[in-house]
Each structure stands twice: as structure tokens, then as C-alpha cells.
């Protein structure tokens, strides 16, 4: 009755400091155990004891399967195999685990001989087999899709990996679509995501550190970086920030993002979020660190800088003229999405002299029947637009189309004809909306959408001066932001001439020889000298 003693010991150790509610739970519900209790619970030599514990811990679950069988034909040892139904691959389990275990062997006939063989790794043909000696590891692994084998008289558990849960196929990128470039995106399975990175970087320097975050969910979170390029301090800082997370459940990488960013109140995203493996690899090579979270088809990249939020991975695949123009277009689009409605409000209210006379006359004519001041008009249209956008995302796909037709065609047209808004306002709002879609980072688009409203308010009260004060305040805020110690606006401020080659313009690959100076201290060079192609003479 050794296990009773152990149970008594456990219960008595709880009395002092662990919550009292456990004692009150009814007998047919198993107690909830903390991680520490399970770690301190060793696997016993007695099979019956282990079996009782496993039943106590997991036995009530409908998908928990146990299979008893004798090991060996002469003097057999009893053995039990546990696994969670639906998380394993039954074919592999049958072929590579059960069949070798049950098949009679000519040499090793006794149970103890077979156990010896099993311990030395010779019996089961699965590649991954391991031995553990406490219940925390055992339950954890069984719940992630491994099979566990207990054998009589053996104080160890054999973990045989035969994961086989359902996963998606590797899809095409949905949010970050591209014309040119690989058509692979991350999926929810961490190991697949890591493999997508590994096959792009065939080097032993690609480090993937794993840690489990979430007291209940115990989600796998990986820190990925390129040793020799990344600065050690950055990796240490990422590790430190992830380690201090103390939360029950991590559902998505957004939890991690909010728990480790520098300025929690800033409206601006401080790290890149991407679904493209090629973008992650490009950033790793520049000395950034990626954080992959299990069950999330997205990677976080730190540190995130403002200019890198406006870069698409496709930029690097085209000849440099075009991406340079595209970047300027995006910077303009960022500004337009931020200030166009407030400029409209400011100019029509305060600075009519800025509008060319003919346009002014047509604006005045169009606004003649509109009963609202420009600010209210802009607010109505912006709120309508945001509502349509939100409805378009939330509604089921077939209805979503109907909404876009109703929203775009009917409301837009009818609102103008009913003299609720002026046609120019509709143009302004539509253009603003389109401009905010050109930003490659969705989260940056969100911050722009939010900041638009206070700017409109200040434009309504103080005209262009109000817009300017608002923009200066935003600029000061951006200058004060840091992401993992790197200034948010670098390389623009603080200024770095080499950095301009990948921010203000995109210089051709053969002239961008240096990695971003604010990230990389050593091993700065991307490439060798004289990489500019020359025709043979």
C-alpha cells in the first residue's frame, strides 16, 4: 500500500499552504493537481500503483485509452499502454509499437529480457522513445499525443512518440498576399512552422529555443534566432520577458504580444506580425528574433520598427526602382489614411482659401443641402465606413457580399442623394479607407484608424493648426517609443545613413551590404564586396 502513503504525504503537504478547497471536492471528481505536486510524484515500481494513479489523473476522460498486455511469452511481465484517442496515429501505433511488443521473439522470451531490450532501445521501432520518471512529464506528453508504456517492476515510463492529430495543409498566405514570392504560410502546428523556417535556413546557427507558457494551457512558445548575427542582449531580453509571463491560458500570439511589449498603452504596434515564413527568415537574417506560438498561424518578430511595419516581403523580390516607389506610396498612404478626413474638415471649415476657386464653388454647391457641419458629416461617414468594414468581417461569407453591396452602393449613393453627406466627403472617406488597406501590417492600419478620430476632432476646433499639433504630438510619441531597446523610428531618428537604404528607398541588393546597425553589433556584413553584376569582357 505504498501509494496510500504517498497520497497521505501529498495531502499532508497540502495542508500548510495549498488551498483548502481541494478537500471539499466530492469523491467522484478527481482532485486538481498543481505542476509541483505532479513533479514530486515519482513513478512507482508497482504497475498497479501506476495504473491507479493514471486512472485517478486521466481516467474520467472519454478519449483516454488503456491497453493491458503481457510482455514476453515465458514469465511474462504485465504492461499497460496509455494514449489519448484522436491525438495519436493508430497506424503507427499498431505497426511500430504494438506489433513489436506482442510478437514472439526467438531469443528474448522472458519478460525481463524484453524489458532490458526495451530499455536499451532495441524493441520498439519508433524513432522517438524516451524514459521518464515523474507523473508531470508523463501526463504532459500523453496529452500532447504520445503513447506511454508502463511495465511491471520498472520505475520508469516509456514515452513513445506517435503524434497524429489532425492539422491543416500548408495554405497560401491570406492576409499578406503577394504576386511574386513563395506561396506558403504558417499553420497552427508549431513543428510544421519550424520546419518551414528550417528548410529556408540550412545552418546549425538557426536556434529554436522552446519554453512552455501558461499554467493551464502550457503552450509551446519558441524563440527563433540566428546565432552569430543576433545580439546576445536581445535574445536575453526576449527570454527574460517571456519567462516573467504568468498566465493561465495562451490562446494566440496576441496574448504574448501584449504581455511583452515595451509601451503597453501606445496605440502603435511594436512588433511585426506575419504569416509568411520568408518574411520571418528575412528578418532573422537582419538580426531580429522571431517568437512562434503553438496554435497560432502567425509569428511575432521583435524588435519592430516603424519602417519595417511598412515593408512587404515582396519588396525584396522586385528590382529596386519599383519597391522604392511602392514604399513612398505606402508612406503617403499612411499619411493620407491618418489625416485626409481631418484635412477636409480643417480646410472646409477654416481655410477655404486653400481650395482653388472652381473647386470651392462646386464644393459649396454640393454642400448646399447638407444640414450638418463638416465635422459631423465626416464623423457620420467614418463611423458608417467602420461599421461596414466590421460587418463585412463578422458576417458569414454569403451575407457579407450582400452587405458590401448595400453598404457601398446603396448607402453611399443614397446618403448623397438624401443630402446627408456631400459627395466630396464620400470620396474622402473611400480614399482614406483604401489608403489604410495599402499598409502591409494590419495592426498598423488599426492604429491609424483609431488616431484618425482625435485628429478630426482637433481639426474641427483648431483647423490646420490643430492637425499640426496632433501630428507633432504623434511624432513625439513615436520618437519616444522603443521596441526591445531599439528606437521605434530608427533609422530615421536617430539617423543612420546606411539604414536609409532599406527605409527611405530600397537600394539594390548588391549595394545593401550592412545589416541594420541598431540591431547588429558584430558580423555586420550581408555580403561580400563587388557583388554588382558586370558583363564579362
Amino acid at each position: 500500500m505504498g501509494w496510500l502513503k504517498k497520497l497521505n504525504y501529498l495531502l499532508s503537504s497540502q495542508k500548510g499552504h495549498v488551498n483548502q478547497s481541494k478537500k471539499k471536492t466530492s469523491l467522484d471528481l478527481p482532485n486538481a493537481y498543481t505542476k509541483e505536486e505532479l513533479i514530486n510524484l515519482p513513478i512507482a515500481a508497482s504497475l498497479q500503483e501506476n495504473l491507479d494513479w493514471m486512472t485517478k489523473l486521466l481516467g474520467q476522460n472519454v478519449d483516454f485509452v488503456q491497453r493491458q498486455f503481457p510482455l514476453g511469452s515465458e514469465q511474462p511481465l504485465q504492461a499497460v499502454l496509455f494514449y489519448m484517442d484522436g491525438m495519436i496515429n493508430p497506424e503507427i501505433l499498431d505497426r511500430d509499437v504494438m506489433r513489436p511488443l506482442l510478437a514472439p521473439r526467438p531469443k528474448e522470451t522472458t519478460g525481463s529480457a524484453l524489458l532490458k531490450l526495451l530499455k536499451s532501445g532495441g524493441l520498439v521501432s519508433r524513432a522517438e522513445i524516451d524514459q521518464y520518471n515523474n507523473f508531470h512529464d508523463v501526463t504532459n506528453l500523453i496529452l500532447t499525443g504520445d503513447a506511454v508504456l508502463f511495465v511491471e517492476d520498472c520505475p520508469q515510463a516509456f514515452i513513445i512518440s506517435c503524434k497524429g492529430y489532425q492539422m491543416r495543409n500548408i495554405p497560401e498566405p491570406v492576409v499578406e498576399n503577394s504576386v511574386r514570392g513563395p506561396r506558403e504560410a504558417f499553420i497552427e502546428t508549431l513543428s510544421v512552422n519550424i520546419s518551414l523556417l528550417r528548410k529556408r535556413l540550412v545552418t546549425p546557427n538557426l536556434m529554436v529555443e522552446n519554453m512552455k507558457i501558461g499554467k493551464i494551457s502550457s503552450t509551446d512558445v519558441c524563440i527563433v534566432y540566428l546565432k552569430g548575427i543576433v545580439s546576445e542582449d536581445l535574445v536575453k531580453e526576449v527570454r527574460h520577458r517571456l519567462n516573467r509571463i504568468d498566465i493561465d491560458v495562451i490562446l494566440e500570439s496576441g496574448y504574448i504580444e501584449q504581455l511583452i511589449q515595451d509601451s503597453p498603452y501606445s496605440p502603435f504596434p511594436q512588433m511585426l506580425v506575419t504569416e509568411r515564413p520568408d518574411k520571418v527568415v528575412g528578418n532573422l537574417a537582419e538580426g531580429r528574433v522571431a517568437i512562434l506560438t503553438d496554435n497560432t498561424p502567425l509569428a511575432l518578430i521583435v524588435p519592430g520598427q516603424f519602417v519595417s511595419l511598412l515593408q512587404a516581403s515582396e519588396d525584396y523580390y522586385y528590382k529596386f526602382y519599383f519597391p522604392t516607389l511602392l514604399r513612398w506610396l505606402r508612406y503617403t498612404a499612411f499619411l493620407v489614411a491618418l489625416v485626409l478626413p481631418s484635412l477636409y474638415v480643417a480646410i472646409t471649415n477654416f481655410h477655404q482659401e486653400m481650395i482653388p476657386t472652381t473647386l470651392l464653388i462646386s464644393i459649396a454647391a454640393a454642400r448646399q443641402g447638407v444640414p450638418f457641419p463638416a465635422y459631423l458629416e465626416a464623423m457620420i461617414m467614418e463611423v458608417t465606413f467602420e461599421t461596414l468594414r466590421e460587418a463585412g468581417i463578422r458576417l458569414p461569407a454569403p451575407v457579407g457580399q450582400a452587405i458590401s453591396i448595400v453598404g457601398a452602393l446603396i448607402i453611399g449613393q443614397a446618403a448623397v442623394q438624401a443630402n446627408i453627406v456631400s459627395p466630396l466627403m464620400v470620396i474622402v472617406v473611400a480614399f482614406t479607407g483604401i489608403a489604410s488597406f495599402t499598409l502591409p501590417q494590419y495592426s498598423l492600419g488599426i492604429s491609424v484608424r483609431m488616431l484618425r478620430f482625435p485628429l478630426m476632432l482637433s481639426a474641427a476646433f483648431l483647423g490646420l493648426f490643430g492637425v499640426m499639433v496632433g501630428l507633432l504630438a504623434i511624432l513625439l510619441h513615436l520618437c519616444a517609443l522603443r521596441s526591445f531597446g531599439v528606437p521605434y523610428l530608427s533609422p530615421l531618428a536617430p539617423f543612420n545613413l546606411q539604414g536609409l537604404k532599406d527605409s527611405l528607398v530600397l537600394a539594390p541588393h548588391w549595394s545593401r551590404k550592412i545589416r541594420p546597425a541598431e540591431l547588429v553589433q558584430e558580423n555586420k556584413k550581408f555580403m561580400g564586396n563587388n557583388q554588382k553584376p558586370k558583363p564579362p569582357k
Binding site: F350, H351, E353, M354, P356, F461, L462, G463, L464, F465, G466, M468, V469, L472, A473, L475, L476, H477, C479, A480, P487, L489, L492, A493, P494, F495
Partner: protein, 363 residues
């Protein structure tokens, strides 16, 4: 107090921004009133005292590294130094208040005609207070990003408004003799050169790499002078000295003469606004850190909002009307020059004598 560092490059941009400052708007009329068509010589005359002041401040900083003017004035002169730095602090406060007042006056007379001025005072001070709360590093970063764009915009506006330029208006050169030009040059030395440069006695000690800082600052200074020269010359050749001296904001008047100038005018205002904010924010910063140094406080941040209220109130109540203001601006030179140049010179001489008297300290 937490040490903050800025780079020499950022310091140069702050210097350019604060010298151009509100004077972008005010200086053309003020100089043209006195020196007529020769007013464009005035900025060049003031380069010499400007360079001298820069070298004084740099050499004082070398003798007392890591200290602001308020700090080293007391370590050079002892008790009298405290009073001297108090005078300096008053200068910063009053200068900031005047700057604020001119900015608001400019805004209300060019783009926001019906807005109550106190609202504008409030929002400008709020913006500056936010910047100072974030620290010098952040301000320097923001302005080193903004000032280049603003300079480019200023040059574009310059090109636009030169359509009606008539270079005949520059002639005859020195028809009224040299004296009016020297007078205008002296005024120019007090405002904007001296007042902007003396602010940097509270900034230079925070520059990270001090090697060659004198030369770097001087080049920035000359560049700012060049921009102001362009502005003055533009007012002369487009409006002519007579008309330019009669309008307060001759730069705006020059643009209004161009067709389509109405579109540019608000941009010009914003342009001037950025430059003026960069000067005001430095006055504000110099005053707040100066008070903190003077009273040996560990942090200047609690002083920000009270100081902002002081700037606002002083800005609103310093003058009853524009006539008073104009009268005061004629004595500004006499009031400002001794503080801007006299105090650093006095401190420098005292410091040199002190170091000569105690040669053992050098070892």
C-alpha cells in the same frame, strides 16, 4: 537627474530650428525697417558675434564638462554666480513667453482669425510640455526628423514666391551709409542669433561626442543664417523695402502677391510653426532644467506644468497691445545683448583667470 545624451547631428538641427524659429516671420520687417534694401547684409554681420558666442560656450563646456551654464556659473563665481544664473533663468522664461506670444499672434492673424488666443496658448504649451516630459533625447530625435523636411518646404516656398522677384530693388547698395546696416546687424545679433545660441548653454553639455562640436555647431549656425538671409532678401526683391517694412509678416505678404499663394500660406504657417516650436520648446526646456539645476533638484519633471502655466500667463499679460510690444522690441537689443553675450563672456573670463590662479588644479 537622469543623464540624457543627444548626438552632435541632432544638436545641429535643434540649433538651426531654434535660430530660424519665429524670426522666420518677424525678422524681415524688423531689419528692413532700419536698413532698407541693405537689410540682407545684417545676418552676415551677426555671424562674427555668433561664432564668438559659440566658441565661448564650447570652451566653457570644455572647462566644466557635464555642467550647464546654471551649474558652472555658481562653481566659477560662487554666490554671485547664483544671482547671475537667476538672471539667466529669467531671460529664458521671458524669452519663451515672448516667443509664445509672437507665435499666437502670428497664428491668429494669418490662419485662425476668430479663435480665442488663450486656446492657442494652451495647446502650444501642452504640446511643448508633452515633448519636455518625454525628454531631450526624444525632442532631439523628433526635430532632427522634422527640421530637414521643414527646411525643404521653406526652400520650396522660397522658389514659389520668387516669381515676382525684381532684383533691381536691391539697388542702390549702402546708399544710406554703413550705420543703418550695423544697427540692423546689432538687432539681428540680439534677436534671433544671441537668444537662440545662449539656449545651447543648457544643451551642449548633453552632447555625446564633443569632438569638433564647435565646428559642427558653427556650420549649422551659418546654414541658419543663410536661410534667414534668403528670407530677408526674398522680402526685399518681391515686395520692395518700402512695402516690406510696413507689413508685420512680410513673408506672408510676399506670398500673397503670387497667384495661388492662398494654397501655400497655410503651409507657410505650419512651416513657421514647426520652427517656432523648436525654439519655444528649448526655452521651456532650458528654463525647467535651469531651475532644477539652480535649486539642485533631482528631477525637472515636476516643474514642467507649473512652468508651462508661467509661460502662458507671462505670454498673455506681458503686453497690453501691439504698440507696447513694438516699443519694447526697440529696446530688446539693449536689454538682451548684455545677457546673451555678457554673461557667457564674464563667466569665461572669470573661469580663465581662476584656472590661471590655480595652476595646480590643472595637473
Amino acid at each position: 537627474m537622469e543623464k540624457e545624451y543627444i548626438s552632435a547631428r541632432q544638436c545641429i538641427f535643434l540649433l538651426i530650428g531654434s535660430i530660424i524659429g519665429i524670426s522666420l516671420m518677424l525678422v524681415p520687417s524688423l531689419t528692413i525697417v532700419i536698413a532698407k534694401q541693405d537689410a540682407w547684409l545684417a545676418p552676415w554681420l551677426s555671424t562674427i558675434p555668433g561664432l564668438v558666442l559659440i566658441s565661448l560656450l564650447v570652451s566653457l563646456n570644455k572647462m566644466y564638462p557635464g555642467q550647464s551654464l546654471v551649474q558652472y556659473s555658481s562653481s566659477i563665481l560662487g554666490l554671485p554666480g547664483y544671482f547671475l544664473s537667476l538672471l539667466m533663468l529669467w531671460f529664458f522664461l521671458f524669452l519663451g513667453a515672448l516667443n509664445l506670444r509672437s507665435m499666437v499672434h502670428f497664428l491668429t492673424s494669418i490662419i485662425l482669425f476668430e479663435t480665442p488666443p488663450s486656446i492657442l496658448y494652451f495647446f502650444i504649451i501642452l504640446l511643448c510640455a508633452y515633448g519636455i516630459k518625454l525628454g531631450l533625447e526624444v525632442m532631439a530625435r523628433a526635430f532632427s526628423l522634422l527640421i530637414p523636411f521643414t527646411i525643404i518646404l521653406a526652400l520650396i516656398i522660397q522658389v514659389f514666391s520668387m516669381i515676382n522677384a525684381d532684383f533691381e530693388k536691391l539697388l542702390p547698395i549702402l546708399s544710406n551709409g554703413v550705420l543703418p546696416v550695423i544697427h540692423a546687424g546689432l538687432n539681428f545679433t540680439a534677436f534671433p542669433v544671441g537668444e537662440a545660441l545662449v539656449l545651447f548653454s543648457m544643451i551642449i553639455y548633453q552632447v555625446k561626442n564633443l569632438r569638433g562640436i564647435g565646428a559642427k555647431l558653427s556650420s549649422g549656425f551659418i546654414f541658419a543664417i543663410f536661410i534667414l538671409f534668403l528670407v530677408i532678401e526674398r522680402a526685399i526683391v518681391t515686395l520692395g523695402p518700402e512695402r516690406a517694412s510696413r507689413s508685420i509678416y512680410s513673408i506672408a505678404a510676399a506670398i500673397n502677391t503670387v497667384s495661388g499663394g492662398g494654397i501655400i500660406l497655410p503651409f507657410l504657417t505650419l512651416n513657421g510653426f514647426v520652427f517656432s516650436v523648436s525654439e519655444l520648446i528649448l526655452c521651456y526646456y532650458a528654463f525647467v532644467t535651469g531651475v532644477a539645476h539652480w535649486a539642485k533638484l533631482s528631477d525637472y519633471k515636476p516643474l514642467i506644468l507649473p512652468a508651462g502655466a508661467l509661460f502662458m500667463v507671462l505670454g498673455i499679460y506681458s503686453f497690453e497691445n501691439a504698440i507696447e510690444e513694438a516699443t519694447f522690441s526697440s529696446i530688446w537689443t539693449v536689454y538682451a545683448l548684455p545677457i546673451e553675450f555678457g554673461i557667457p563672456l564674464l563667466l569665461w573670463v572669470a573661469a580663465v583667470i581662476k584656472s590661471r590662479l590655480k595652476p595646480t588644479n590643472q595637473l
